[in-house]
Symmetry: C2
Subunit: 204 residues, 2 copies
Amino acid sequence: MSSKREQPPGPGRPRDPEADAAILRAAMEILVEQGVAGASIDRIAKRANVAKVTVYRRWSAKEDLLADAIEAVREEIPAADETDRPAEDLHAIIDQLLPQWSEALVQPRLRVLTARLLSAGPDHPKLLDAYREHHVKPRRERALATLRRARDTGILDPDSDLDMLIDMMNGAIIQFVLLAENPIRPAEAREYLTRLFRQAGLHE
Amino acid sequence: MSSKREQPPGPGRPRDPEADAAILRAAMEILVEQGVAGASIDRIAKRANVAKVTVYRRWSAKEDLLADAIEAVREEIPAADETDRPAEDLHAIIDQLLPQWSEALVQPRLRVLTARLLSAGPDHPKLLDAYREHHVKPRRERALATLRRARDTGILDPDSDLDMLIDMMNGAIIQFVLLAENPIRPAEAREYLTRLFRQAGLHE
């Protein structure tokens, strides 16, 4: 969730969830097809079939819109704290989510969006700033809470560096997605994630 | 080393190491400044002050040249098997190389080149292919040999997944370099690497 969404809408200008969804979808598609440089508000508004002012009413900067568009795809991947299992039962949570996580990783658009985002640093630093602030930091807090529980329940070593472990796990997944030689098949993604959880000490 | 360099030079056309170095430097600079799309052989030849045919005599494809240019910067970072210490003494090797590794990670051009390379997948897959084939695979073999020794000498768990550990360590470093909020200072890079080696089980 971007902090933008929590601001009250302007007077007499109630939000239109359908327009918002169309704008996010258009932004995502154009970002995939043409990269950050090609994803202008103008193009996005045209593709979403809304007036430019409708976009600006909701997102004051293109980078905030693109960050939210990337996150909308990222949000389709369930987090470890989103199952109905008790938080202590991390092995069972992983087993439950593994099929969904594997399916998510093989999506070609996720691969492209990850490449667009991570390469934004040199030429489009504001996109990386917006994404880091609105999305990376809150998600890391949740992941840390999950790993803290894993440490407290004895799954992880008591002196584990949880922040570093998150970097190592995220980093491995990013590499897997970005450097894959061919389109990834769900079975490969599943095997990779299984090995990752095992080497991270989070699964047997 | 690209496989290109191992081919014998054509008859009557001995290699000119100075021209090669100038071409690699020009390619690196233009890649940093303008990205893959802007790094044409034409521009590179002009910047290096050589004829286009001189470039083509040595690199038949732009992607091979760009991959070699990235690797020339990457090669300045010493590998764990390049010290004069015995391979068993991994802790001492890490202590010895840590200052050089930390200095390397803070270079802004390394950050930009990493971003250019990892984002090449969607729009310039041949660059990623060339880099993977000529540079990633040989380097991984050497890293694996080092980690195998660490496992055989009892530093790492006997059932460690060494391939996965390399992905996790590389991935953490890639994330650190690409997602840093501000220019990284050498002391921060050093602290990060120290934590990484510790969490990976390679140092105390």
